[in-house]
């Protein structure tokens, strides 16, 4: 069962709307990209760039320019816990935004 249309067949109506996709979001997106760059610079400057979350962010950022579609989905998947079974107990902490493999836990 699915209601999912083929993404390739979806088209927006007017050329005005298509232009608005860029005009309405470019500056905000540019700012977010610079924030990412500044964050990576900052963690290096503070000597904490080996944090597993920073490493995960660098690896995920590579997907931005690999020329393949569905970048958001693929980045979310790359930052996800790939295991499939329920954990025996809670770590007691909140989710951290990137997956830390058990072998690296201390």
């Amino acid at each position: 069962m699915t209601s999912t249309p083929n993404p390739q067949t979806y088209t927006l109506g007017s050329s005005l709307a298509r232009k608005a996709v860029v005009d309405g979001a470019f500056i905000a997106t540019r700012a977010k990209l610079i924030e990412v760059a500044a964050f990576l610079d900052r963690v290096e400057r503070f000597g904490v760039d080996d944090d597993f979350r920073c490493a995960a962010l660098r690896e995920a950022a590579a997907l931005l320019i690999d020329g393949k579609p569905e970048r958001a989905r693929r980045i979310l998947e790359q930052l996800s816990d790939p295991t499939t079974h329920p954990a025996a107990k809670s770590s007691g902490q909140a989710a951290l935004g990137a997956w830390l493999p058990p072998a690296k836990e201390k």
Partner: protein
């Protein structure tokens, strides 16, 4: 413009938010039970919370002419204490006949633990036994994909669960298709820093269809925006979506799902 806010934790919002939502076109708000920011320590603490959701908060919303509905459960963040969870679930049936209660929610997983799975199964049994709608919370950040898969497998394997009566909330680009493809409804939550932004939500509507999707702010005591849904309407209009399409997503879709509960009424007559 008219819209339904299908997921807002209004007990933690101010009256200013009620005014702003109504001014923006909100015609109903639905409030799932959730975590208070700390673990409640007793069954009586939950009983008081359920009274707040079914007595006090609907009256507060009514002062702003806004119909208020609620969902009841023990939040997955409080599922590690199995004994307390069992005792709390035992009192929920006392409240299911209240006039504003729509179903069981928001149940689900937090850190994807065995105890959370146990309590999720108990909630699903409770919902099936009492023929209730189900609203499911999916985990945060790196836990969402795994948790969504565990939840979908659990729900799909239960013969008493009807997918069209279950909404899986907080979907993102990596989980939305698997939810829709199994016949469930999907909720997109609009948060400033996590979950989805309005532009990403519209992306998902454009690429995944809009038949069984609702949008919500899930506004609570954390970083959240009670006007996120109408702001997403603006993003849709800016991209060229018609007012009719906006209305279908922001009003008709939640109306269609929620009207499966006969208690979901707007004004004096049944909706739908």
């Amino acid at each position: 413009m008219r819209y339904i806010e299908p997921h807002g934790h209004m007990v933690s919002r101010t009256t200013d938010d009620y005014q702003a939502m109504v001014a923006a076109g909100c015609v109903a708000v639905c409030e799932p039970a959730f975590w208070a920011g700390f673990d409640r320590g007793s069954v009586s603490g939950f009983r008081d919370y359920y009274r707040q959701l079914t007595e006090y908060e609907p009256a507060r919303a009514a002062k702003f002419l806004l119909p208020h509905f609620s969902w009841l459960c023990l939040n997955p963040k409080e599922s590690e204490d199995l004994a307390l969870a069992r005792d709390v679930l035992a009192i929920i049936p006392e409240f299911l006949d209240r006039p504003n209660v729509l179903g069981i929610g928001e149940i689900g997983l937090n850190r994807n633990t065995r105890n959370e799975m146990t309590v999720l199964e108990q909630h699903v049994e409770l919902a099936v036994k009492h023929d209730q709608l189900i609203l499911v919370h999916t985990p945060h950040l790196e836990d969402k994909l795994k948790g969504t898969n565990l939840i979908l497998d659990l729900l799909s394997s239960h013969r008493g669960v009807k997918p069209e009566r279950v909404i899986i909330d907080h979907v993102e680009e990596h989980t939305i298709r698997r939810v829709l493809d199994r016949g469930f409804w999907a909720g997109i939550t609009l948060y400033p820093d996590s979950k989805s932004s309005p532009p990403r939500a519209v992306d998902m509507l454009e690429t995944c269809g809009r038949e069984r999707i609702w949008l919500n702010s899930a506004c609570d005591w954390g970083v959240s925006d009670p006007l996120a849904v109408p702001k997403t309407a603006f993003e849709m209009r800016r991209r060229g979506h018609s007012a009719e399409v906006v209305d279908a997503v922001l009003y008709s879709n939640p109306l269609r799902f929620l009207s499966q509960c006969p208690k979901f009424r707007l004004g004096d007559s049944p909706v739908g």
